[in-house]
């Protein structure tokens, strides 16, 4: 049975779901990925060359995982999320020098060209539509600004893909449902990967919305995609 909401209800349902699962969300992410998720974030921040001169947007920041890493690299950071409970969780981490704002990815409350870099982790599939989010990111980035996007992906190798399918479609919902006591959320999270565009389509989306120099890395045997691009 599908755990995916109807398109017109997606924004509200997904927001309510993230508000529900906010307590314990960090711990679960660490368990599900064997703490690898933070390593992928660090690697992406390093590849983007984020440093003290940068003002970084952490889009769909959740409890601030990316924001914290970008801050450690010396940047000033703004985290934005639509789920209030996630932001309250982020504040409890007391990351010095990071501001958190509640807002919508399709209506970013930031001035044109106000950021030099933007990152987002495992959020693309939760947006109602991806191209208008990329357009908003291009708007708030100064020319030459970089984006770094982390997401799940479909491994290419058939064997890896089979194993990944079992883990992602069965183990994740089971363990997630058990630990969070929210089965429907952890059925949604794997199924929502269907919202993600294919590789070529994604590159075309980035280019059409003002980005170039697209680069992709595929850690975890291709189960994860780590994409960087530069605002023209």
């Amino acid at each position: 049975m599908s755990a995916l909401p109807k398109p017109e209800e997606k924004a509200r349902e997904v927001r309510q779901m993230f508000d529900r699962i906010a307590p314990g969300y960090d711990r679960l992410n660490r368990v599900m990925t064997g703490r690898m998720d933070q390593r992928w974030r660090r690697d992406l921040v390093r590849r983007m060359g984020i440093g003290p001169v940068d003002r970084v947007l952490d889009l769909a920041c959740g409890t601030g995982d990316f924001a914290e890493i970008a801050r450690e690299a010396g940047a000033s950071v703004v985290g934005l999320d639509f789920a209030r409970q996630m932001l309250l969780g982020a504040l409890r981490r007391r990351i010095d020098g990071v501001a958190f704002v509640q807002g919508d990815a399709l209506h970013l409350p930031f001035a044109d060209g106000s950021m030099t870099a933007a990152v987002s982790g495992f959020a693309l599939r939760n947006f109602v539509a991806i191209p208008p989010v990329l357009a908003e990111l291009a708007r708030v980035l100064a020319p030459g600004g970089r984006i770094g996007l982390l997401e799940v992906d479909r491994p290419r190798n058939t064997l890896v893909r089979a194993g990944h399918g079992v883990y992602f479609n069965h183990a994740v919902p089971f363990v997630g449902g058990l630990l969070s006591r929210d089965r429907s959320a952890y059925r949604y999270l794997p199924q929502s990967a269907i919202y993600l565009p294919g590789e070529r389509e994604f590159v075309e989306m980035l280019v059409a919305n003002g980005f170039h120099r697209v680069q992709k890395r595929s850690p975890m045997f291709g189960a994860i995609q780590s994409v960087t691009a530069v605002r023209r």
Partner: protein, 86 residues
């Protein structure tokens, strides 16, 4: 006089409770340099009702263009489009 656990445990606890909670991530004034109205992208005017250590804990942001008001609660400005607020 500095209070330590050993000397004045009860007083120390009282001290912690009476102090308002301060979050490092609370909204700073310098955030105003980059914030705009999510609907019409005009500048926002900040009214701080309660501040702690130079950071706004409660207040509101009013759009200079469309006049929409956005609340700040617990140090988090809520700049969701008005129809997405609960």
């Amino acid at each position: 006089m500095a209070l330590t656990f050993g000397q004045h445990p009860a007083r120390f606890k009282l001290d912690v409770r009476s102090r308002p909670r301060m979050y490092d991530g609370a909204m700073r004034h310098d955030l105003m340099e980059i914030l705009v109205c999510p609907m019409c992208r005009a500048e926002l005017t900040l009214t701080a009702d309660r501040e702690e250590d130079g950071e706004v804990v409660e207040g509101k942001l009013v759009c200079s263009g469309c006049r929409e008001t956005y609340p700040i609660e617990d140090g988090i400005p809520n700049l969701l489009p008005p129809d997405m607020r609960d």
